[in-house]
């Protein structure tokens, strides 16, 4: 069914179109190039050293498994400009929770691309039956915070002075969460509003 949905076209605030689609094994070179072009200050808080080609190869190996769902954003020229991943725990007490991670090329930031990637991962979480999503950002990442909050993520915890940047400055780590059932509650309300909104001439 995915092949009908993708590539998913999104128009950014700049008017530029991008295309979202799941990561495929053939994307290794493009993905590695994307990460290699990212400035260090944009990647220093990622959980993996994405400048290491072996790490990128690991991402590709995980592609298509039930532990990680990855989606890419590409330009019309097929250049990768964003990467979103949904990480899942197959067993244990966190098996209903997915972790969302998003990386966007600096020239495409603040244009709605992160929001588009996160929305697609929220959609996938519903398909996979997850109940809760989590994202970790720093207090200084205002753009990321806005993108997550637009999709219903809220700050649930704050770990003070938990992150140290390359300039030895301390940052709070924010844990944002999202209830996957919330959009479905909106659908229930929509249906009830339509089905019960007026009492006309009868059935």
């Amino acid at each position: 069914m995915d092949e009908l949905r993708y590539p998913l076209r999104a128009v950014l605030k700049s008017g530029r179109p991008v295309f979202l689609r799941p990561l495929q094994h053939r994307d290794e070179a493009e993905l590695a190039f994307f990460f290699s072009e990212m400035p260090r200050e944009c990647t220093e808080f990622l959980k993996d050293d994405v400048h290491d080609p072996e790490v990128v190869r690991g991402f590709i190996r995980q592609c298509g498994t039930d532990r990680v769902y990855a989606i890419l954003a590409l330009t019309e020229e097929d250049r990768v400009v964003g990467d979103g991943t949904l990480h899942m725990n197959l067993h244990g007490w966190r098996r209903h929770v997915g972790e969302v991670r998003v990386v966007v090329s600096p020239e495409f930031q603040r244009q709605g691309l992160a929001t588009a990637l996160i929305r697609e991962l929220v959609n996938q979480a519903s398909v996979l039956g997850l109940k809760k999503l989590e994202a970790q950002i720093l207090d200084s990442q205002e753009g990321a915070r806005i993108a997550f909050e637009q999709l219903g993520f809220r700050e649930e915890a704050r770990l003070r002075a938990h992150a140290l940047d390359v300039h030895n400055r301390l940052h709070d780590l924010l844990i944002l969460t999202h209830n996957v059932d919330d959009p479905w509650l909106s659908m229930e309300i929509l249906i009830e509003d339509l089905d019960f909104s007026r009492d006309l001439e009868g059935y």
Partner: protein
């Protein structure tokens, strides 16, 4: 056939009105045809009767009410009992095969059933049963194109639910294309036959 008269019936909370809206939107906005949707309600309580009517035409629609539906989609026994006598003798009945036991139908009427509630539960959300039915409707009638329906669904459901709703639509669509999966006709059924209604 230039004009299609469609009636959808079920109980409140099944998404009957939303289904009518989606079909109307698919026809008018994405298939660029003329379309009118009207609705009626029973008492305002969960489980009460509710129906919507859609007319789709190549020409301007001068009278907005469905008088003799040539497609009837029913999702509850009550709706079937109430509306099946209205069905055009050569019309098509699409029904929730695990909630409805069929009675006699006009001899020429076509019928096809789908266990859309069970399929929706398999997808993890019972609330998408109506969207499964829409997929089935699209495959059985071709009253609207598959692509227009997909766009209309994406345009109508809350953000964050689009993908599962589209999966539900596709499940209904592929079920409809698979003749071997057609549900057996319920007990006491008339002599109607199963086939697809192609309108265009």
């Amino acid at each position: 056939m230039d004009t299609i008269e469609l009636k959808i019936g079920g109980f409140g909370g099944q998404g009957i009105i939303l289904s009518g809206l989606i079909i109307g939107k698919a026809a008018a906005l994405f298939d660029k045809r003329h379309s009118v949707m009207t609705q009626s309600f029973g008492p305002e309580a969960r489980g009460s009767a509710c129906s919507s009517q859609v007319i789709i035409s190549e020409n301007r629609i001068l009278y907005p009410y469905v008088t003799r539906p040539n497609i009837l989609v029913v999702m509850s026994q009550e709706a079937y009992t109430k509306f099946s006598p209205l069905l055009d003798p050569e019309g098509t009945l699409l029904y929730e095969s695990e909630l409805i036991e069929l009675g006699k139908l006009p001899p020429c009427a076509r019928r096809a059933g789908i266990p859309c509630t069970r399929i929706a539960e398999e997808l993890g959300r019972r609330i998408v049963a109506n969207i499964v039915m829409l997929g089935f409707f699209a495959s059985q009638t071709e009253a609207v194109t598959r692509e227009a329906m997909r766009k209309a669904i994406e345009d109508s459901v809350p953000k964050g639910t689009e993908k599962l709703n589209l999966n539900a639509f596709e499940r209904g669509y592929t079920y409809g294309l698979s003749d071997t999966k057609q549900s057996p006709v319920g007990m006491g059924a008339g002599s109607g036959h199963e086939s697809r209604l192609i309108i265009r």
